[in-house]
Symmetry: C2
């Protein structure tokens, strides 16, 4: 196995993390149908109330990058931007080499 | 959804990351049968050759903690310890609130 992983944080405007998380959960439903998406998990770190974490696994970086051009994803991005504080960092890029529970579809 | 997430790094002795990764992939096969394990993904960060990342999702912290007592897991831990440089940090604890591709079994 050799897949493309991302683990990144979005800092939000104060009190906007739940709203951003809802948008990201909508995004997960859209990318579930995108080519190469294996995992798109949305989390909160209890120590950081104004932030949302997204952990993704894709077959390839190309599949991930292509998903950002989907009209439904672009629409969600435009809804998310006003909630975000600062520029979202690229996040940590990982090379996923194996494991259990990584979607095979 | 409300699940228990962990994202953590093991620093290894120089040149030992591949060996540790193999042990962690064995561990993923064992915990795939453990109660409450949804994801156990092993990754490399290309910028850190002497480290291995593990990203886990469990139904609960209790399920995760219980898995550490399984005899097969304890045996793998004892094989892994000599490869690790320093004390493994607890890693980042996350509250997984939703997403796609999180095992439902």
């Amino acid at each position: 196995m050799n897949k493309y992983g991302l683990h990144g944080k979005f800092n939000t405007q104060k009190g906007k993390a739940d709203e951003l998380a809802e948008i990201l959960i909508e995004a997960s439903q859209i990318v579930s149908k995108a080519k190469g998406c294996k995992l798109y998990s949305i989390s909160k770190d209890p120590s950081e109330p104004d932030a949302v974490w997204v952990t993704e696994i894709w077959d390839s970086k190309e599949d991930h990058d292509a998903s950002l051009s989907l009209p439904e994803v672009r629409s969600l991005i435009s809804r998310a931007i006003p909630l975000i504080d600062g520029t979202p960092s690229r996040g940590q890029t990982l090379e996923v080499i194996g494991g259990f529970g990584i979607n095979e579809n």
